[in-house]
Symmetry: C2
Subunit: 486 residues, 2 copies
């Protein structure tokens, strides 16, 4: 295993403390705008200064809240659970929320219900991904004449063996029958009923703060619902340097950390011990194009700073990811995914969000890149496993060198165990056959190899074997054409 | 700047000492086969045990030799010099020695003289590359009826403002008029005469050990010539796990370190204070295809172990690189370059060899990937620059957050200095324009963007302004068609 965190390459203990002191300064003197009256009342009851809709949090209150954030928790899915937190390797979540897809034929199209289902199958058959999610929400193909909030949740439950991340939050757009906090709670109650479980975590979801230093009323409705229903939550910052964050990385991180912590504090004041995760998807802005750059080295540096802070606070970190700015699954996409993934993959990060498939600065999900990013994660998993310096490997290595001697040959009848332990053999999406005329022909384009893997996965996918009760429950919400025949 | 080395993520101090002790054990008990009588005599004179052609080196002799290896040195080129060593950032060297090129039109062809010249121009106009080299040697297009050793060196001198790495060594194939040590010396003397410099380093070159634990007679001829002519040398190991190295990474590193150190020791016994560099290009073997995999995560791990050892010995480390197994400059190539480059770019590495352009497991140089790898290095340079936590950035950040307040906007009239300091704006080869219909049209393929940059660089290239004497000297060796008109 890795010996220390990649964050140590970039931050000393003093650097992290300097960031933390600045966060505290902002939390206690500039404050965070909280667009929810009930929440402001709770802060106030616990001694926070509240001025209008601005909440100020001091060191004592922060420390009190941090004490009860759990290090680890377990998320239950249909037939398996996933352990998440400070004592576990990162759990991978795929792309989510992108309006466009890049198809295998190179065309771009609006993400539709057909794509959402394809990706459920791809996620379910992945050896890399631990938790499923919607790759897009409120997509064309859903019946707009009725609330679309529960139908989309029902669809995810229908297709997933794995635990779920409900990307979808109830919004004015997809949930009209009541207020959004009620909508959030209705969704969670639906999931609890589906699983037949009241006392476990079955529906984790996430909301975003608005940079700088605010939590809007829609996100607050979600956070309040999630906290009251006792389900894990993630609090996400996604700012742009020089636009919604200061120009420096230091400023970006300090500001976003303050906003995220304000909701961590609220969650623990309302429901001490509730699992919550600290998420940053903030990055730099390329001011030439006024674009948020999700494949930039600064994205990785900002992520690492947030991981260092989350670790310092002992809040499970949830970070991106295999993102990027490229529009095609090309060389640039490969570099961007690796630069983005190395941060969470070589640190104590609980969860990697946008782990595979996202590109085009959050606008695009690529079928091809999804399959390819999985392999990048396998490569980085091999890195994370580290360099084996055990006594066993030392002893065997010395013996083998002594036996072989100068100019000898190590190839013997049997492949030694230590070769199998130390050498990862890549999946077929990466080409390792050596550049010869016949292999150039055979191997073709990486897109063709990804497509083959995709086809095989789609063929092998099987629906979860739901009980009659579960099917009946889902049928009450599933869109037409997706209901079970009972 | 980065706060510590990426090697620390993978190795504790004790891990490195464990590797070192194993290296010592192999050096003193298994020994290294040295195919050169004069060299064996020198080891023996200095107290090493020599048995047949095997040389055994003990701790005292190793430590004595390590004491005189210089931390840093300077390499002089036509109109500039480059500082190399433990106190400097990595100097980048491009691809070298690949028999095939991948052209912009997607075709593969044998590397010829035309390609070698194109890459001289590309290297000379690069803001990333510090030292030039031949991308291939003994290529078609050279007159085979005469010795081709000096003509190729003369060509490199003709085209390069930058200091040179003479990839080419005198071999039985390209130098017939005398023995190979004499050939090596003749080449160096030619370069010294060209520069009109006797007392500086002007011609660094490198030789390979043969794994396991041997230095062949051809490489020995080169090493002896370089040491006697007082020019910097690099000693390279390039082994394959389970074939020419043990199956484990531990065994691979220990064995190769021992072989490299044997020549470091020789250089210091013969010429104390001579700059020498410790190079590894070893990697894992994918036994399914019996292929050396240069884009594998194990390559990065092996490289990191060698960097840790080289730093421990205080020998400047020279490591790869932007390599890979892909045949096309595709997603896989991007991942592989990043995985390979992150090791030397985030550590104390003196020089990065095969920094840009190489792929296909050492067999292929891609024009496109060359331009793209340059950008990957710029991304990793930004990572290496680190996260600025200076008092200045802290002060400005806090002031800016206080002034802007919750839900404010940071965009003001002037772009702040800290934005410019912290945010790297990518070159045009990477696309950051956001995925919209018009930008998709505009940006095209990354290959087209690379080609545009290539064309502009070729247009802007200018030959060094040599003196009449220099031209006359080169004319004595330059191939027909490449001579100066005087």
């Amino acid at each position: 295993m890795i010996r220390t965190s990649l964050t140590d390459v970039f931050f000393t203990k003093e650097d992290v403390e300097k960031l933390h002191e600045s966060v505290l300064h902002i939390l206690s003197t500039v404050g965070v705008k909280i667009e929810n009256e009930e929440a402001r009342g709770i802060y106030s009851q616990h001694g926070a200064r509240v001025d209008g809709d601005i909440v100020y949090i001091d060191e004592a209150l922060l420390n009190k809240a941090l004490k009860t954030v759990p290090d680890n928790f377990e998320l239950q899915g249909f037939d398996r659970s996933v352990a998440i937190g400070l004592d576990h390797d990162p759990v991978i979540i795929p792309t989510n929320g992108t309006p466009l897809v890049l198809n295998f034929d190179g065309s771009y199209s609006d993400t539709d219900l057909h794509d959402v289902i394809n990706f459920y199958k791809l996620i379910d058959t992945s050896d890399v991904i631990g938790i499923t999610s919607q790759i897009a929400i409120d997509v064309p193909g859903l019946d707009k004449s009725r609330d679309r909030y529960l139908p989309q949740l029902a669809l995810m439950l229908k297709y997933s063996h794995k635990p779920i991340f409900n990307v979808l939050t109830a919004t004015e757009n997809n949930y009209k029958k009541s207020d959004l906090e009620t909508g959030t709670r209705e969704g969670i109650q639906f999931a609890k009923k589906f699983f037949g479980i009241e006392d476990k975590y079955v529906c984790y979801s996430g909301g975003c703060v608005i940079s700088p230093l605010a939590v809007g009323w829609e996100s607050m409705a979600y956070f309040m619902g999630e906290i009251k229903e006792n389900q894990p939550l993630s609090i996400t910052a996604c700012s742009m340097t020089n636009l919604t964050a200061p120009g420096s990385l230091f400023g970006s991180v300090v500001q976003d950390a303050a906003a995220v912590l304000s909701i961590v504090v609220l969650s623990q004041l309302m429901n001490p011990g509730l699992p919550c995760m600290y998420t940053s998807l903030s990055s730099m802005t390329d001011m030439r194009y006024v674009q948020l750059c999700m494949g930039a080295p600064e994205f990785s540096l900002i992520t690492l700073a947030h991981i260092a802070l989350a670790n310092y606070y002992r809040i499970p970190a949830r970070m991106g990811g295999g993102l990027g700015d490229a529009f095609k699954a090309d060389y640039q996409a490969g570099v961007e995914s690796t630069v983005g993934l190395m941060a969470p993959m070589l640190t104590q990060t609980a969860m990697i969000v946008h782990g595979v498939g996202t590109m085009g600065s959050f606008n695009l999900t690529s079928y091809e890149k999804f399959i390819e990013d999985e392999e990048t994660i396998r490569y980085l998993k091999r890195m994370r496993k580290g360099f084996d310096v055990s006594d066993d490997h030392q002893k065997k290595a010395l013996k083998s060198i002594e036996k072989t001697g100068p100019r000898g040959n190590y190839l013997s009848g049997r492949t030694p165990k230590e070769y199998r332990e130390d050498n990862y053999l890549a999946s077929a999406v990466f080409n390792r056959k050596g550049c010869k005329e016949n292999t150039r022909e055979e191997e073709g384009d990486i897109r063709d190899r990804a497509k083959k893997i995709y086809d095989a996965r789609m063929d092998s996918y099987k629906l979860p074997d739901l009980s009659l009760e579960q099917k009946k429950l889902l049928n009450t919400e599933l869109p037409e054409g997706f209901k079970f025949e009972i």
